[in-house]
Each structure stands twice: as structure tokens, then as C-alpha cells.
Symmetry: D2
Subunit: 378 residues, 4 copies
């Protein structure tokens, strides 16, 4: 269903930006996992409004409440229901949007599709919906970090250690991390060191400066997030339609404000020759490895044990504090000025969301792989 994601580790999100609450149900979680609300909260705090001076000042503590699926500190294998109450609602701030369609928002399409909409703050189309994704993703991340007994008839893995997922900004507007500046896998501390979540400090400073500058003009900017995943066992991904990169692409394009996805060499790879692009195999430390990683960690839709590397493009925030022409629900010309409390650049707060979605995809595929390939031995 449209509000569910995943096949075996499945989440269902619900809730509107200015309704009473927003939440998620996680179905299929392995039992026995030690899990505390604080672990969920830590991830929610990374996407929370008001966390720094370059994001929206909306005041939401986003305290998670766990309603089911945990008993005496461990998951029971039954659905985990979590919710966050919406606190800082100023629905009056959106009265103008009841009848007017904000440019490049979902107001018009929701109205046309459903015949009515909760106009307050974007309702269901608000990025606030991702609260549930981040809460569920926190569980998936924890399981992946602990690792598991991946195996398979072809000795699908040689890795018992866990999976680590790291997303960060490489671009804001026309500011980009210099080529080759981030070869090492960034630490979480490096990413979290600045409000913009770019682990290359000189670039981070320029990004913050730019975001403040456009904000002062009532404008907004877009950016790019890169996500790298290491420790992934060989063998995850289910061809032909549920290739690992296909499900990652869907996960990322299901996020608000995303316009593109690329894996490994991406669009630049289209400008290369095969002799440049091919990843040569070699034996290293007893495992089959590739010398380069233009493939981005998958071949034929299945993880090959190298780092998974992908990038996601985010458009500039549609809400700007400038006067824009538009139409109202009757189709008549009008204009509006963005109000409310918005991020001049959504990308820094999207970092934990991208990680959450990546974790959901990987865990689901791990469980799918295990079901087909580890259950029976012939």
C-alpha cells in the first residue's frame, strides 16, 4: 500500500503535519532485540526542527512514544507502534493556503486527486511525515550495526561484522566538496560537527554561509547528499525487479524534494568507455574484491561486498518568503507570500532520513536473502 514500505521488514507511516500526532508501525522486526526509546529518540533528534540556527525554528521536541511490540526492553516480533505528538501547531498561519496553491508544492495535486486536503502545513505531504521513517530506520540501523548470520549456498558473505551507513552533504547550491577530498569513510562525529552535516569543514563553512545568505533574501537552495554503506555482505539484492539499487532509488525518490538518484559512477559513468568503467576483480585478504568501485557496490542488482555509494539530489525548498503569482482552487489568478517556519535548505535535516531509508532497504533485503538462501541446504 502507498503508505507502507518494505516486504519483510515493513513500515507503515501515518499522520499529518498539523494533526494530533504522526507515527509509524513496524511489522516484521526480528524478536529479542534490546531496544530503548532513547535509541529512537537519538535519531529523531537529528531530524528535529530547531536543532540549529540554519533550520526551521518550529518548536517540536518530537518525543517518541512506543505503544507496542516491546516487552521488558526487547522486541517481541510483533508490530512496533510509535508516535510523536505534534506540539507547535500554528494552523492559523496556513489559512491562506486553504484556497491557494503554493508553487511547486503538493497543494494542487492533492486537491485534484482527492478532492479535499488538510491544507495546514502541507498536511500529509509535509516532510514531517518522515518522523515515522526515521523512528523505524533507527531500529533497522541498530540491527544492521549488530550484524547477523548472513550466509548462503555460495558462501555469500565473509563478513560477520555490522553494517555502517553514513550520509552527508557534498553540495549546497553551487558549493561542492572538492573532488577526492572525502576518500576515507567519514565518522559520525565528522558529519555532525557542523549544522550542515558536511564532513569537509572548509566546505561546510561555505555552505552555512550560503544558506544564511539566501535565507536573508527570503530564498532557498538545494543540495546533494552522498550516502556510503560499508560492511555490506555479498549477496543482498533480488533481481530482476528488486535489485538493490532499484529499491534504493525508490526509497530515495519517495522522499519529499528529491529530484535524482545515482549509484557509483552515476550520470558521469554514461560519459565513460567500458575499458575505463569496468571494475577489475582481484583477490584481497582471501576475498574477491574489485580494484575500483565505479559499480557503487552492486553488480546485477546484488551487493558485491564493496562500499555502496549513492547520491541524492534535493531541489531548493519550495516555500520562499517572496511574493509569487499563483492560482486559487477556482483557478483564478492570485498571489501569495510564503509564511510559516521553513528550512531555507532542507538537505542538512535530510541526512538522517536518507540513512533511515537506506537502512530499511538493506535490512529488508538481508531478510529476503536469508529466507531464500539460508533456510534450506541441499
Amino acid at each position: 500500500m502507498p503508505n507502507s514500505f518494505g516486504k519483510l521488514f515493513q513500515i507503515t507511516t501515518w499522520g499529518e503535519s498539523h494533526g494530533p500526532a504522526i507515527g509509524v508501525v513496524v511489522d516484521g522486526c526480528p524478536p529479542g532485540l534490546p531496544l530503548a526509546a532513547e535509541e529512537i529518540q537519538a535519531e529523531l533528534d537529528r531530524r528535529r526542527p530547531g536543532q540549529s540556527d540554519i533550520v526551521t525554528p518550529r518548536k517540536e521536541e518530537d518525543r517518541v512514544e512506543i505503544l507496542s511490540g516491546i516487552f521488558e526492553g526487547r522486541t517481541t516480533g510483533t508490530p512496533i507502534s510509535m508516535l510523536v505528538r505534534n506540539a507547535d501547531q500554528r494552523p492559523g498561519a496556513y489559512d491562506e493556503m486553504r484556497d491557494k496553491f503554493r508553487p511547486s508544492h503538493a497543494d494542487f495535486t492533492y486537491q485534484a486527486k482527492f478532492g479535499l486536503r488538510d491544507h495546514r502545513g502541507g498536511g500529509r505531504s509535509s516532510a514531517r511525515e518522515t518522523v515515522g521513517r526515521v523512528a523505524a530506520g533507527a531500529i533497522a540501523k541498530k540491527i544492521l550495526a549488530l550484524g547477523g548470520s548472513v550466509g548462503g549456498p555460495g558462501g555469500a558473505t565473509g563478513r560477520a561484522s555490522g553494517i555502517e551507513i553514513r550520509a552527508y552533504l557534498t553540495n549546497v547550491h553551487d558549493i561542492a566538496v572538492p573532488a577526492g577530498a572525502l576518500e576515507a569513510f567519514p565518522t559520525l562525529a565528522e558529519v555532525e560537527a557542523t549544522a550542515v552535516r558536511c564532513p569537509h569543514l572548509p566546505t561546510a563553512e561555505k555552505m552555512i554561509e550560503r544558506i544564511k545568505a539566501v535565507r536573508s533574501e527570503g530564498d532557498s537552495v538545494g543540495g546533494v547528499i552522498e550516502c556510503r554503506v560499508r560492511g555490506v555482505p555479498v549477496g543482498l539484492g533480488e533481481p530482476v525487479f528488486d535489485r538493490l539499487e532499484a529499491d534504493l532509488a525508490k526509497a530515495m525518490l519517495s522522499l519529499p524534494a528529491t529530484k535524482g538518484f545515482e549509484l557509483g559512477s552515476g550520470f558521469a559513468g554514461a560519459r565513460m568507455r567500458g575499458s575505463e568503467h569496468n571494475d577489475i576483480f582481484e583477490s584481497r585478504a582471501g576475498r574477491v574484491r574489485t580494484v575500483t568501485n565505479r559499480s557503487g557496490g552492486t553488480q546485477g542488482g546484488i551487493s558485491n561486498g564493496e562500499e555502496i555509494v549513492f547520491r541524492v539530489a534535493f531541489k531548493p525548498t519550495a516555500t520562499i518568503l517572496q511574493r509569487q503569482p499563483t492560482v486559487d482552487v477556482s483557478g483564478a489568478a492570485t498571489e501569495l507570500i510564503g509564511r510559516g517556519r521553513h528550512d531555507p535548505c532542507v538537505v542538512p535535516r535530510a541526512v538522517p532520513i536518507v540513512e533511515a531509508m537506506a537502512a530499511l532497504v538493506l535490512l529488508d533485503h538481508w531478510m529476503r536473502h536469508a529466507a531464500q538462501n539460508q533456510t534450506f541446504t541441499f
Copy 2:
């Protein structure tokens, strides 16, 4: 399941490159559609090997056989099973691949995941698998072209006319269609005018030249396909996870050799400001329209009635006729030279495949929209 795609108009493909046959089952097709094998065949002929002097010379007529679901020339609403016999098999040509992993192919990952693989011509990972997608997509394209009774509580559509899908090459290696050269919706004849399927003739000629040049060097090149869809009613797409662009992204990244997807402004959009990027609404011919189309035809994951525009990056063909180092199944270093009959550039033959996948996504979403929004009136 991994070999099925779509929720209401669902296809399941099966078959290996050098097995006896390859095919597809289509479930959920609306009944009463007049359908002849020739209509399927016409699309298969567009992806067929040997169709021009810049593609693989593998000799496959790819004659489709319809085994069920059609009665007296019309679909019956029951599953449509179609198959194509594999004719020009030269399994001996692949003996070397039994034990060696071809760089940037799926040999290693299939072996690791499943413990064994049909090594002949890539087996299931061969792009030959897309025969079934194109056959099924031909049906979806026909239905979309005929159009239907899209509606909804919000007057989701004003279009009774059909949907037209047009894909074509914009890039091969470093050759690109000049900016602004393809503003008009290209005709099918323009696309099919050259073997490379680029409707901008001067560019097409350069592309063909380049492909022949790299082929003569035993090398390969990548490229980019742009796909545009017009006549799409307002309202298709199911937030939050099954956004129209999310399902398109998944569809495209499920194709062999793809490395990236972008919608509308795409990665370039990440370098823009909100004030540049926003698509202003206006009333035109009695409908709500946008002045620009940086959104690429969707807002909030739902079609807004503008052209859907997306691009897909394809890497260069992994098989090159050059000596490459690699490892064998035991992990020992070895080398191999690509043999077999391969496309120096897969992108021209991928055009009908991209169209097929786009058609499958759109039809499925149309049916989903109708189920929720057109069945009951309150």
C-alpha cells in the same frame, strides 16, 4: 516477488539468455482490449538484436507466442502468458565464463548469492530478460494510448485523450544533444529515423560514428536516455512511498546497466534557488497549468498534468573485446577476453525498454488511482 513488477497491472518475467525460452505473464489486464500478436511483435522488433549495424549481430527473430488470456482477439481479464523461444544459442561461446568472473558483470554476485549460476550469456542477468518487459509494456502502452475514464472527487483530470510515451537518446559518451534543441515532443518517426534513436539528426550522426569507432577498438560506451510522457491526467501517483517518480526510479534502476535517474530539473535542480526553480501556476485553457516544468510533471509524488520528463544514465557495456585481468571461482587470478556478440552501446536498444517500463508504471498507477478515487462517490 523479485521477478514481478506492478501492483494491479502486474508482470512476472522468467527465462535465461540461453535457456529454451524467455517470457512473461501479465496479470490484471483490463478485459475487452482488442489485441493481436503483431502489436506485441512491433515493440519486440524495436529491441531485437541484429536490427542495425551498430547493435549485436545475435540472430533472434524473437517471435512472440501468446498462450493465454486472449479469446477471439480480445483480452479476457485473465493472465496473458507470452513467450519467445531462444533461437541463436551458442552456449559454447561462453565456456570460459563457467569459471571466470567477467568484470562489472553479475557473474560473481550471482555465484555468491545462489551458489550456482547459468553462466551462458549471463543467464538470468542478461538483458535478454527484458524481452518479457517489452512484450508486457506493449499492452500497457496500447491501453494508455487509448485513454480512459480518469476522474476523481477533485476532478482529477480534464483529459480524455490518450497518453503518449517517447524515449530517445540525448547522450552517447561525451556527445550530447545541444541544449534547447528538442523542445517539441519528438515524433516516433524522428526517433526511429536513425539506428541510434536520437531525434536530433546531426547529433545522431556523431553518436553513430562514435559507437562504430569504439567498437573498432573493442571498447564500449555509455549514454543517457530521456523519456517524455504527455497526456497524463492529473492525479496519478500514490504518496507517500509509491510516488510516481519513486516507482519510475525503481523501474529504471531495475534495468540492466543503469546507474542513475533524474526527474525534471534533476541534479541540476540541486544547484538552483527556490526563486528560480519554482513552477508558477497559471490558468490556461481552463486548466491549472505551470509556466515552467522544473518539477518534471509531478508534485508531491502525484502527476500535475504537465509533461513527465525523466532521464536515465546507462553505463558502458561491460563486455569489451580486450584482455582484462580477473579472478576465477576459486579466487585465483586469471584473465579473459570478451567474446560473444555484444552491443558496443546498449542504449539505442534500451529505448523501447524504457518506454515499456514507463508504461507499466503509469498504467498501474492509473488503475490504483481509479480504485481509490473513482469507485465511490460520497
Copy 3:
């Protein structure tokens, strides 16, 4: 996923008997439906504990809280999240069950499957889980009662009026409604006239007497619910696997304590000859009708416009207030006496649950039918 039901009108339930709350998320609800919490509450009150002197005295008001998906009194097409707080928790009453397996309960199987369990009141396996089903079913029932624009290429329906679902008890222990005593479709008032929900009054009285008698002995009894549905359009049901009766059977056997399902003639039909069993077609009031209805309202898995009639067998409540031998989690022999507050016969409170599940199946199939058969006209 295991805690979700339905394909287009999909529900996901969550919650444990003695956790903080229990709830449901409904995805796919048609937009624009006027819906008030009171309408949900009315159905919940029918399954609520403590509603009469023959059911469990557990004190639960079961007040529903709607958290999303409704705006200004109408459904918006987005997920409807509903929860009920658990109030009358006496977890201490279940201390003994922490280590002992109650006979014919799910204690042992949950422990074996998941390695741990919330033992308080059965945790997830408690019939309290059905609160969410009834809340969701109330919405489905309302939509079905309003009716819709069912159609299809074959003129699938001639009925614009709504669908009415009526369940009631025909059997408690060895007490049964006399053959032929319930030919007319019972009214809701007739069903609700007695605490036992059997519309045949003389039988209802005997049933109540029997339930009180077994309760006084610390024992329990089973029973049978019959459910009839009228106003069903011709054409609902999706062969070959998703036949209407197949999905009804699954829905009913997914309820706690159920042991059997039969449609129309059921097991008695197996003892008949074809010449007795066949339902002869005739024209009546301009429609194709059958003279008899041994088929029970479907043929080939598709509704034929006659009443849908099915029966569900419920076993006696497993919890009895008698001493029973059993084993503990270590496998050692022990014994226990049922405590807690239980229904001596669960069947009367199961009536609204059966109706809810029937409504969910029918609405889902109606939407599926419409998607394939009403969207396109050729």
C-alpha cells in the same frame, strides 16, 4: 505482512492486551467520506467487554481516538490511524502465565517461535487485537452501506443500493436455531435484542441459560456464527486464488478461536448429488437470478448477486476456571487454574468482528474489481 490485511483497502493492526494501547492504521480509504468517531465507537461498543452479564467483566470503555486521515469531518484519502488506550490492566493477574503454558492458548507457540512473549493476558494473541479490526471494519461497513458505482464491461451490477452485512449466532454448544427458522434476513434490532446475539428468541434464551450454566461450573462453550450479506453486486471476487470465498475463509480463520468456515451448502453439500445441489438460473425482475442458493452467493469465486451466506465455527474458550495439568517453559510438569476475567463463550462478542472482517473483504474486492473493470472502456 502478517499484521496487515487487504490489498487496496488495507489495515494494519498493532498492540498487546496489556500494553499501553491497541490500534489500527487504515490505508487506501476513499476520500470524501463523512466520518465521525461516534460511528467507529458504535461498533466498538458491540465488541466491548462488560457489555452484558454473559461476557467478561473486564472494564474497558474502549474509547477510540482518531489521529490522522480525517479533516473537517471527511476522510482525506491518507492513512487513518486509530487507537484505544488499554485501561483496566491487571497484569499481576497473569504472573503465573509468565512461566506456564496455558492449554490450547498461544503461550507455547509464541514462546517457541519468538523466544520471548508478553505473557500478560495473551499479549498479541489476545482477542483484544480485534479492536483494531472492528474500528477499521466500521469504516468499510459504512462505505458498503452507502453503495457505489459498480459497473463493468459485462454490466456487472444492476444494484446501486448498498450492501448490508448481518452476523448472528446459530449455535451454542449443542443448542441450535431450528432448521428454517431464519429464512428472512434478520434485522440488526433482532440480533441485538439479546446479549447472545441470536435473532431467534426462544433459542437465544436457551443459549444464555447454557452459557450461564457452564460459567457457574468454571467451564466454557463454543458456537457457530452465520453471516449473510445482501445487496452485493455481481462480479466481486478475483479468481483464481483471490476468490471471494477464499478471502472470506482467510479472514475468518484469522480470528482467534475459529476452527472452521463453510459457504452456502458447506460440508452438507459434500453429501449431496449434483442434481440436488445445482442452483438453477432464471430471470427475475430483469436480472439473472438463481432459484436456490446452495452456492452461497458466489460461483467460480465471483459474487453472483445472491445473498452471501457463510458460517464460522468457534471453539470453546480455552481459559477455564478449573485445575489443568500443563508444563512450564522448562518443560517440567505443573498445573494451573485459569484466572483473569474471561468470556465463558466468546461467540456473542465475535459477531461484530465477523461483520467487520466480511466488510473489509468485500470493500477490498469492490475496489479491486473497479480498478480492472471500470477504469478503461474499449
Copy 4:
């Protein structure tokens, strides 16, 4: 989708009774399984027409052709496509059915739902569709018989041995196996000893006699199949909706001509008291076992390690060689006499079909259990 069954071991069947062929695609099969066409054929031969003098004389060899998914005698983990050509077609025999609706057949409902139908031999609604189920079920049965590494955090199983599924007739018309006569698990040889597939010989003889008698009168009879499964590990089944018995019920009610399903005590259980019905736990041979098995092998929807026992009611064959009134497609009164070659009692040939469906359900649930409970250890 309606023609697919199973979540992880998924089958999709296709084909009409008098089309060119009928078949199935199996997706999700574990790789490495040795599999020969003869093993599939053996099961198909058990459901084949013309196998004895009490079934239809339609001449179909039903030779299976495997088109994909097997390489060098082993499954590869990719889709297994199998088909059987329809040989003995006498479409002319069905000319009368083009316009007339056969009583208690699916002619009317298919016509109403889809607007057209392949009337020849019932088209898609023919029991010939089950060829694909039996072919797929043969694979599932083989995997289950070999057994696997079932485990889980709760030590979900103590059984490494395989699962054995045995179905057989207990009733034909009013002839029934005497109570208590089949306590031991019947052998395959005992079941196959007679054409009627009842392992109680004296009863089998009476059944055959009865079937011949009704056939001589141009009539038909129904019957009941009991199915027992032993060696099932503890822990299979996914509450709350995908309880093992819920999926078994759906599987059985998805078969043509079925009218009822019951598990363990079934409808008789509804007439019992809790003190009689409860299955007391005890320790036996180091495992938790029940003294009785009224539960029929599951508790709370999860297998408890005891025999799974269920029964399926089949109505008498709708086609009888007697004159019956009916209506034609215009609704006008007419009559018809059954022609064609039909089974006077479908139940004996349904035995391998019931076994196939049971195998599909169990294997799918085994894989689902493993995915959630065996992949990660905390």
C-alpha cells in the same frame, strides 16, 4: 495479484482449459535443489484425466516442459517456468455454452464481471488450471520432505527430519470412513491403492460403487478430503492475519468446487466444552507435546509440532448429464444438457491438488519464519 499465491515461494498460474497451453511460474525457489522433470510429472500423473475408470476420459498426457530456472539439474534461484500443452481439445463440444449459462458453473459470473469469456470447457475457471498448482506443489513437497535448518530464538523446532503431507478421501456422498478407522498416518501406497484414494479399503470399495452408480444416472456426487501433515516444526505461521490455518483455509477455498474448511475439531469443536476441548501439554521425548490434538496442529495461528489435520468439503460436480433449465446471455429462459467429458466425482483427483496447496502454504511460511527469526541473533 489474483493469479499469484504465496509471499516468498510464490506461484503464478496461467492458461485456459482449451487454450494452447496451461502453466505456472514459480518465483523464490531456493537454489541448489536437484530437480528433474520426472518428479514434477509424477505428481501431474496423479491429477491427470483418464487415469482410472471413475474419472473423466479426456485424453491429456499432461507432459510438463520446464523452460527456465533449472541449470544442469539444479534450481538456480531464478523463476521456474513450466507449461503443459493442451492436447485433447474438443472445443466444438462447448458450442452450446457460448450463449448459455451452466447452472452452478462460473459462466454467468465471468460473463458479468469481464464482459466476455472463453466459454470452451470453462476457460480459466476450469479445474484444469490446477495443473500449474500441482507442478509447483511438487517442488514445494520435495523441499519440505528434505527438511531444513528450522530454528529460532525460542528453539522453535526439535525436528530436522522432513515434512510429509498426506491427503485422502474420508467421504463420498453419504459414505464415510468409520470413526477411528484411520488413526495411523496412511501411507502413500494405501492412498493410491484404489482409484478413489481412500486408504480404508472397505469404504473405498463402497465409494467407487457409488460413483459408478451416480455416473450411470448422469448425476454426480461430492465428498470430503482430509489432509494430515507430520514432521512440521514448531513455529510456522504468522499472526495475526497470516495464521497458518488462515492461509490453509484460503488455499483450499481457492480450489474449484470447495465449500468448506475445518481444522482439528472443526465444526464439531463448536459443540464442545472447554474442559473437553483443551489439549493438555506434557513433556514427551524431551519435547513439549499435547496429549490430544483437537487444535489440529496450530495454536494462536502457529504450528505446535503436532500433526496438522484439516478437512475440505467438495460439492458435487456441477456438470451433470441431465436436462436442466437455465437462461442464456440475453437472460431468456432455455435449457441444456451437460456434455463433454466430466468427472462424476472430482474429489479423487483433487487429492494431489490439496497436497500441493498445503505444501505451498507450509514452505512459504517456513521461509517467512526463517527470515524473521533465524537471520539475526541478539
